[in-house]
Amino acid sequence: MYARYLVTALAAVLLVSSGVFVVDVDPGEGPSVVDFGDTIRMTDLTQAEQRVVRERGLAVPRAEVFYSRYRYVVGHEGLASLVTELDRDGHERQFGVPLSIYVTDYTDAELATGEDGFLRVTGGDTDWVAVENAAFVVDADARHPGGPAVVPFSERAAAERFTDSFGGTVVDWAGLRAHPFERSELSVDAAERRAADRNAWADAAAADARSLTERPVSVVVGDDAPTLAAAIEQAPANTTVVLPAGEYRDVNRTVRKPLTIRGAGVNETWLVGDGNGSVLRGFDARVAVTDLSIRGIGQQQARPNLTVDTDAWDAQVLRAYGYAASGIEFDDAAGSYVADVYIDTPTNGVTVRYSDGVVVEDVRVDGETPWREGFMSTITVHSRMVVQDSTFVGGRDGVYMHLGDGTVVRNNSFDDLRFGVHEMYTSETLVANNTATRTRTGVVVMTLPEDNVVARNHVSDSAVGIDVAGRASYVVENTVVGNEEGLDVGSDRSLFARNTVVGNEVGIRASTLIPTNVVTANDIVGNDRYVSTSLGPVRIWTDDGAGNYWDGAPGVDSDRDGFIDRAFQPTGAVDRHAGSSPDAHVLATSPAVQLLRSQEGTLPGLRSRGVVDQAPRVRPVRPGAVAAALNATGVGA
């Protein structure tokens, strides 16, 4: 009679566990607020702005979002990014719907703005309030460093009191969702428009700077003055001092008026320093230096004891990099110009501080090898500058930017450095048409800036081709060939499109935890591995039904729309070998693999470490660039 007990036992187990259909397993209200420091951050602020917030003790309204299909809690600093992210195309596909959103509640806080117009909490406490119960003040006079502050309150009366002091209007959550925030448009067109604007600015700056070479000659060193220092002293403003061929070893060459110093040509005229400090200093606007060579620069790099009048974190960076000995050093010298100059330096080549519109072109800087012993070939500090048509060999970084918003670096060649272009705390730049070889990273953007454009660069034989952090940036039409790692997608809310990634050990590395980038229309060909990923959810690299070209992606395009019908998983156990092994195709189409893949792309935010392209392309986007790159590496089929 054991059957009776067995059947009864099974029935009992099934019946009891069926209670789970009655029990509420829905996520419902969502979890309560977590420590903000433990969230994955999306922010309205660049890292430079975050440092200002920390240093001055400013208040930035925050939000925590709990998503249905994303396992981590997302924290927003500033509410503009919250609203724009919720509206982004593809957002729901990757994250699901927000189960609950909490924002900072300033009802019990005393708020004030300082002279800088930034919001501060001067007393009381802040708390959290669910967005649907919150009243938001928009268009108030209060700001945070990343933009206008949207200030939430749990009580409408408190919000209205705030508007009495700071202006603005009170809206509810629906009203805030409808509020017009500046949204970045992640398209190749948007990247091209930005590039065109910045190129136009750089063209104008260059044309303006070149006019400095037309100043009348006032002093010829050797004829009219014994030394360069004497010539500088003697020459009237807005004239040219000519240095005939020869070596000039005198000291104290500091220009404090708008002057042009012109040599007889690279390798003809040599300015030779005494191995102590900078060789030539321009401390006034519109100083030009052309047609000469410089050597004998001092060894000083960091200047830890220097007194600088600026925020503490910034001062630290300035002391570390901005006051190193240089071939040419500009300070407060807006619109200055360096062209047709050769610099051989153990430290910096051209240093530009607090000088907007400085143009450096047709320059060659030879730094130290190995790079550890060298420093920055060009460095811009608190300055928007142009570096173009120049060559940088050896040394630490070809172009180093610290707070160099808007800088344009184009048509240069970088070889044997640590970084070709190194952006720190710098937004809205254009880095285009440069060539970098044998670097640790060809172009690297650090410290969460925004709106940078990296376009049509060519990086080869480097550890990393292009590595862009920050947000709302554009990495388009670059070619990365034969590097250990081609592209590093370390940004958020950024566009990676039309890049040619050929013959690298790893084609693309996905390193951000928060999958908000648009990665589409890239050609990934002949790499040892297509993609490597670090911790984080599955990223979907398809935009608006269009994915990337992965050489050897299995499957067919039965409807001839240019996209393979089968999704491609460049990190998948089988697909990852598709490029190198035709046998992988046979396995890839097996029912077993189909079973395993049957749900891929669903719930991507709840899965770990992978990339899925739902619409892989049949043909390369830029076949010419791919063919040229394959020729260059000899990786060809």
């Binding site: 009679m1 054991y2 059957a3 009776r4 067995l6 059947v7 099974l10 187990v13 099934l14 566990s17 069926s18 789970v20 259909f21 029990v23 397993v25 829905d26 996520p27 419902g28 969502g30 979890p31 977590v34 420590d35 433990d38 969230t39 994955i40 709990f66 998503y67 249905s68 299909r69 994303y70 396992r71 981590y72 809690v73 699901g96 719907v97 189960l99 935890l513 911790l535 599955v538 156990a573 079973l595 395993l596 049957s598 749900q599 669903t602 719930l603 935010g605 709840l606 899965r607 770990s608 470490r609 992978g610």
Partner: protein, 331 residues
Amino acid sequence: MNGETDDLFAVVERELTIVSRTPAYIATAVGFAAVVWWLAFASSLTGYVPLVADLLTPVEVLVPLLAVAFGYRAIQADAASKELDVLRTYPLRPRTYVVGVFVGRATAVLSLVFATLLVAGLFVPLFGPPANPVIASHGGDGPFGAYLRFVLLATLYAAVVLAVVVAVSAVATQGRTAIAAAVGVFVVLTVGLDLGLVGALSTGLVGPDALRYLLALSPNSAFRGLTLALSVRTVEAATLPLSAVLANLVGLSLWLVASLVLATVTVWSDPPTERWRVVETLDDAGGSTARSAETPDEPSEPTAAESVDSSTDSSEDRPPGPSGAEGSPEN
């Protein structure tokens, strides 16, 4: 009624004994568990609901396969070995016999499906990737309850498919037709009905509005619909269309009940005159079937396989003989 319950459990116990003593069933069970566990292990194991999403399609295919393997000979073997003819001389009602066979096989299949999937769920806490310790995660990847719902739905689905297979086994009384019919049922259940719906939808025969109720008529679509509505969507906080859930439940129940009814009305082969002739052929078939008829507790499956040939051979001698079961649906 009490007597009927005893009869029922006698049949159940006999079925369980058959299952437990037939190595092929044990092998099938091990194979099923191995495939499910491997699939679970190969998925990302980041949470319960992602695991449900990963296992949904495999379960849709593997559960019918399991049901077919465990069920297609349940009644056919008894018919082939002429045990049915012995059984019906007992004071045993056809419905008791059919329900007993179903409950016996279901006990094995349902326990297997339930336990296998439950264990697969344990992989999530055991082998899943650790959450990033520096980043706060929340319950967005679904609670265990959502997974348990899926396991229970899969168990229900197994019961329904098994009932269908048992019915087929009752209808197709010959070895060759039984395996062909079982394969047919498997294909119809896993892809056939859904393909038909796709076809009907694409030709405009049915509109998308009717889809909800038509889907409920396909057991695997009903199962899929219930899983999506009651388990996967729990991470979405979406409101469930109650009508869809109800329709799916009704659809599955209809298949279950209708199958058992069909098996009941087909299982007994009358008329009594044939019975006597069958007993004569029983002697020809040899002592093995006689022995199993005397001791119904013995496993009958291996012997049934031997007796298939003899029964088909004898059917040539007796044109109206074995067609009795197939030919009397009104009974």
